[in-house]
Symmetry: C2
Subunit: 350 residues, 2 copies
């Protein structure tokens, strides 16, 4: 560890209203100290950008309180241990934890988890082999349980969660229809991820396109978005349709109403809202299975990578606006020269 | 049977928009004939007014098509057989069936069910001992399964369904909070039906009143209404809260959006929409239990009775507007002199 370390962190300059903008964020630099007893000093390598962070800014989710301006933005990260005053960690260890949008956090050791060496590349611990992947697994495997031949619709189809959910449903033999923001994403969903069909939600005739893509109606709906996208799917629900609700990106930070539940009543549908945090004990089981599937090529994933913590707000805003494909990540301490040459939408290694 | 019978029926003059008004209905008189082979000629005694009829007018529910103007309004009724060309029925039999808003229908025998003689008075077959009661039973007994000490909220608390749902939840040991349209109804809910508390939804501070009535939050919600009432309950949901959705009276005939599902996400709640028609095979089991409870006084009910088929539209509109208490019924062929003396809100016999 160098003698003087500067921690750069992104704080909330003010609470976003509706869609966040760059001025909602500020960057701060503080001289970092040495870890006190029980603490660990970290160097952040990969920072995870997730829609739930927007919900946190609105006082939603598990936090239940609106954050105060000036607070560091929350977020999971893969980090390297620089110095440790917790006997469980030593310099050079790779760890996982909700350490926030900062380059050199000092945190208590108990909030950290040693990175499973089977996770390669380490960034996958934040996506396909981490919480987003487990979210998809719980929604498909536990809640929706699609059967062969059933039609499953997945919103935010090429997002970190939706892309895995759709592939997991296909592995169970279902017919999978994705909903995504533009034709390029639909091309990825069908061409790379193996979805049976994909519909562009921004098209004026989106509801009609969706209806044509689901000629037998919808048996199960993995919903990341809510809003008008969900309303269009609701209208196609078959009797006893199931809905797994894991996110409401379209509604985060807005006080808009949701879609009418009338179609659920007509379909006698069931809806289960869930958060992955309840199911973290299932991570080893999921990870074991997912590592095998990724290795065999049965499960594919993409990463959207930007370099430098100062890029986090912009990348976060782009992700919320649906302009990213796959898991959105901020890479810190990038190897020299790599950042400029890596295409943002490159298919991930392996 | 008299030689010449006139069938008076209420038809849709036009499709209601939003809240129905009297001009949406018309009365027609037709000379009634004799039943053909397999048919039964009836005299309607009690006509059931139910919110699902509004949904039918909007093309919702199981019908899925918008009715054509001129069609007889649908509805269940208790009737007496006048003449029968179906060997299973003979004149004088009391029967139950979806025979519509008409005084002297002729229908095929297979749509009729002989009235269980244990159902006394016969009008109870349309309320506490019929579909509304079974709806409450399925929602409480099968879906919500409230446990002792849990808080259960019931909307439309003094309606035909809600009044039973609340009492069934209390019989299971739950703490029951009703939501009703005015203080008189709340008085009935608490004073007569045994609810622990009741809140008036028309009050400006309704959400705050509801919050105070549910200091520990809401474990289960039996929802008949949707709309802003549901939104206020959603905000109080505890972790893993359950919602049984059996009606959306506030949304029938309107194209309004529903409440935001954000609170469901935060609570990881589950919602099950259901219709009683799926569960009609459970009627004997429910009826056996309910007859015993009504007999012992454990289950109480009210009827809102109007006399004469020409009163059906007005009473239906009043029921939708929340101006009735208990099961809304139209009595045809009332005994002379009784109609004028029976108070509308009388507690039912027994």
């Amino acid at each position: 560890m160098t003698a003087v370390t500067v921690n750069r962190r992104i704080v909330l300059a003010r609470l976003p209203e509706g869609t966040p903008c760059p001025a909602d964020f500020a960057i701060e630099e503080l001289r970092s100290g040495m870890p006190a007893a029980g603490e660990v000093a970290l160097r952040t390598l990969w920072l995870s950008l997730d829609p739930y962070q927007r919900n946190w800014m609105a006082g939603g989710g598990r936090y239940g309180v609106t954050p105060a301006p000036g607070v560091t933005v929350i977020g999971r990260a893969v980090s390297e241990v620089l110095a440790s005053a917790d006997g469980r960690f030593k310099p050079g260890d790779l760890v996982l934890g909700e350490t926030g949008w900062q380059t050199h956090p000092i945190v208590r050791g108990e909030v950290l988890e040693r990175l499973d060496p089977a996770i390669d590349p380490p960034s996958a611990a934040l996506g396909i082999l981490g919480s987003p992947g487990l979210t998809a697994w719980i929604g498909i495997h536990d809640i929706l349980q699609p059967q062969p031949g059933e039609t499953v619709v997945v919103s935010a189809a090429v997002g970190a969660v939706g892309s895995v959910a759709g592939q997991l449903a296909r592995l169970r033999g279902a017919r999978v229809v994705g909903i995504a923001g533009d034709p390029l994403k639909c091309h990825v969903a069908v061409g790379e991820l193996g979805f049976d069909a994909c519909v562009t939600r921004r098209d004026d005739d989106f509801p009609e396109q969706l209806s044509r893509a689901c000629p037998d109606g919808v048996d199960a709906f993995f919903d990341n978005t809510g809003g008008s996208v969900a309303a269009a799917v609701y209208r196609l629900l078959r009797q006893d349709a199931r809905i797994a609700l894991c996110g409401l990106v379209a509604e985060y930070g807005f006080t808009t109403p949701g879609p009418s539940l009338m179609p659920l009543l007509a379909a006698q549908a069931s809806l289960r809202a869930f958060s992955v945090r309840r199911h973290l004990a299932r991570m080893p089981e999921y990870r074991r299975q997912a590592i095998a599937w990724v290795g065999s090529g049965a499960l594919r994933y993409r990463e959207h990578v930007v370099d430098g913590i100062e890029q986090a707000p912009r990348a976060f805003i782009e992700m919320l606006a649906g302009r990213t494909i796959g898991k959105a990540l901020v890479r810190l301490h990038a190897p020299c020269g790599l950042a400029a040459t890596r295409p943002e939408h490159a298919l991930a290694p392996a």
